[in-house]
Symmetry: C2
Subunit: 452 residues, 2 copies
């Protein structure tokens, strides 16, 4: 399906800025001919064999050298996009890139839109839609965990699972339709219970996928942790120690959320977003009230809470009770801080630490990690849902199957059951992009960077 073959796109493929080299990418059948118009080398690029590299010069319209370059030649279908493609490796200067792109455009190419190379890879059948989405995630992944998740999706773990669900549905549909063909003869080929049991099996597979979303979201977006405790129990010290121990990758001072300080740390390849809250106790003061509201919001949105106590002063029962109004018990890690100043914690905490000496911080890391990721283990091959679009499609698919079951139980004709199953199938098709709309594709690829 060479949908774009006459339309040749060009873009900078490497990050913008100065470097040793930058790479300009061209795709579309005939792109080597376009490159030939501005290239002077020993061979014609349009005659060059696939997967070969050629040295030469890029000339401007006045025949002056813009740069010495290396040009790589790719032939359809063995290229990223599935079309003929060319990569021009130039000196890494934005001015050179700009000049060469201008020459390519005047030679007949046009500047690519965001994600257009990957969109072509999808439209040309090189990858499915879920894999195309994984490409953007691979590029923007900031932790090992999110990178692994995106790779898993690019490798097709999710696509394979979705395809096997589709096959099951298509099987059921064909049984239903077979039955329809012989409906007049009033023979029942498959008992309803058999169909329902088959539907239940698919539903339970979808449920298993939906369940991975919590984990998928966490590896993709990170884990939100609220740090809660009375003033002076050591919230800031803990935050500083955590930042020092793990390599901080982003550090934000109070911004729009005036009363909540946010910092990001990595533990074992997972991203934790730490919110240092002002406190959750009620207050009369208007300004402080706003702070309290924001803290409350941070706690509500957190995946779990680190509840910090001063081991010298004992357990802050009142704060704990307020916390329990917002958060489940198992989402609260009770921490006894300043353990270096007492002989033993006067209360039973999940972890005893000293944010000053660092004692117990490793245990805290382990506790944070196990609370976030729980005990489920996922291998490289496990299908994981990390994208809200996929999650919603799966939910829709499941709902249509539940509706099919109802239709059966109400004794409606197979035609109606088949309608429900087809709706379910279509929801699955959306994930891997078997049928797409322009809007849907624009939504997905607009978020890509240009050149990908």
């Amino acid at each position: 399906m060479q949908v774009f073959s006459e339309d040749i796109i060009a873009a900078l493929a490497t990050p913008p800025g100065e470097g040793a080299i930058s790479v300009i990418r061209l795709s579309g059948n005939g792109c080597a001919e376009i490159a030939d118009k501005i290239f002077a080398g020993r061979v014609l690029l349009s005659d060059a064999a696939a997967n070969t590299i050629h040295y030469g010069k890029i000339l401007d319209r006045n025949n002056k050298t813009i740069d010495d370059v290396l040009v790589s030649i790719f032939r359809e279908p063995h290229s990223y996009t599935g079309e003929d493609s060319v990569e021009i490796s130039v000196h890494g200067n934005p001015l050179i890139v700009e000049k060469i792109l201008a020459e390519l455009v005047s030679a007949g190419a046009r500047l690519a839109e965001p994600g257009e190379f990957t969109k072509r890879a999808f439209l040309n059948g090189r990858i499915d839609l879920a894999q195309a989405e994984a490409v953007a995630e691979i590029i923007s992944a900031r932790t090992e965990a999110s990178l692994r998740g995106a790779r898993n999706q690019l490798n097709g773990a999710l696509s394979k699972k979705v395809n096997s669900l589709r096959e099951s549905l298509i099987d059921i549909l064909s049984l239903e339709e077979l039955e329809l063909d012989f409906a007049e003869e009033d023979l029942e080929f498959i008992p309803d219970e058999k169909i329902v049991s088959k539907l239940n099996s698919v539903i339970s597979d979808i449920d298993a996928l939906l369940e991975t979303y919590d984990f998928g979201r966490i590896i993709r977006d990170g884990i939100n942790v609220a740090i809660v405790g009375k003033p002076n129990v050591g919230k800031s010290s803990l935050l500083n120690y955590l930042l020092k121990e793990s390599r901080a990758i982003v550090s934000e001072t109070p911004g729009t959320t005036r009363d909540v300080i946010r910092e990001e740390i990595k533990i074992d390849g997972y991203l934790f977003r730490l919110f240092d809250t002002a406190g959750i106790r009620e207050t009369a003061d208007d300004i402080e009230k706003e702070g309290v509201l924001r803290s409350r919001e941070a706690i509500e949105q957190s995946d779990f809470v680190i509840f910090l106590n001063d081991s010298q002063l004992g357990f802050d029962k009142d704060v704990y009770e307020s916390l329990l109004e917002i958060k489940e018990k198992d989402k609260i890690i009770i921490v006894s801080n300043k353990i270096d100043l007492v002989e033993r914690s006067p209360f039973l905490a999940d972890v005893n630490i000293s944010a000053k000496t660092g004692k117990g911080i490793k245990e805290l890391f382990q506790t944070m990690k196990s609370r976030a990721i729980d005990s489920k283990s996922y291998t490289e091959k496990t299908a994981i849902v990390s994208n809200i679009r996929h999650f919603n499609a799966l939910k829709n698919s499941k709902e249509a199957l539940e509706s099919a079951k109802k239709t059966i139980s109400k004794g409606f004709s197979q035609e109606f059951v088949a309608l429900d199953i087809r709706a379910s199938l279509e929801a699955l098709n959306e994930i891997i992009g078997i049928v797409t709309t322009d809007d849907m594709l624009n939504n997905i690829f607009d978020k890509f960077c240009i050149g990908k």
Copy 2:
């Protein structure tokens, strides 16, 4: 001269950050074997032909895929460095780059130092030292003019000229030495005047090169322009209009130089650095005095001055006289501003403008350009000196030749003349790096980016 052949270097070659792709570069004989240790594809990279591209996966030490990659193979001497080289094109994510570099290091490569690839290209005789320096300038060039200048140097315009000077000196030296061989026979082979005339010819060639430095410096670093005038003559309006008209590439609000606002604009590919000065009149007030001193400094260091007058109020004779104490007459462009508010300028200005309507701004651009670049024309082939290191080496070379002439005029023995000429030759050698020291090379390549 494969000086480094056993030492394999690796670095990110593309700009840092997110993009569709990033390229990791390896160089050193045996680098394909190193790449093979972490690469899984259809062929062994070490068996692959020169200038071919291979798809595969990079695996970590646990055999898990880090990324899908394309690997380009280069064989000595047909590579940038002149050694066997490998380029790995990966998804443009800094985390992926970091992980692959770590695997390469554990497979036996080491991280490259700044400029080390280009240093190897020089040490392996692919390019001379002046050309190696041009590579860094090509990457950092911010204007068309500076890019052209750097290209000119990379193409060897300067190197060729220096080599022809060297040949002339070697010719003279061989004549001198021939004479020395027969010195006992007391025959004079070449009359002193002939030698002096040959030396003068070289000196005049060096002078011509030294003269290009003003132009070379300007195309490389840009042109400093001080905007001077009494308060309210329209300095800020002019600055704003210039910025709007030409595409501003950097804009700085007052920083360390509290009283001088600096902005950069491009005109026809040349970089102009505009300094809006506070004024140059004497003042009693201490703080204003400091401002005046800074303005004076900006004016002294400028290539020329735009002296702005309000056409409604007439020519500011007192300011002009103060200016003439600092700057030559032909380095001052007299401008009559607010020409839209009067019928005609009450005094003879170089350019009449309205910073409000834009009238005359094009003429001002042309005047600025012609004052900066004067009437000299340089073609793509002209050798231009833009580097202070080259400029100083040429000065030293010339001085040694002047000294040779004195030695001759004093009637000293040819041996002493030859010593001077050899000193001159060595200064030229430094430019293209015929003899180098570690310090000299470190000085040059430390300024490069890593990966180049």
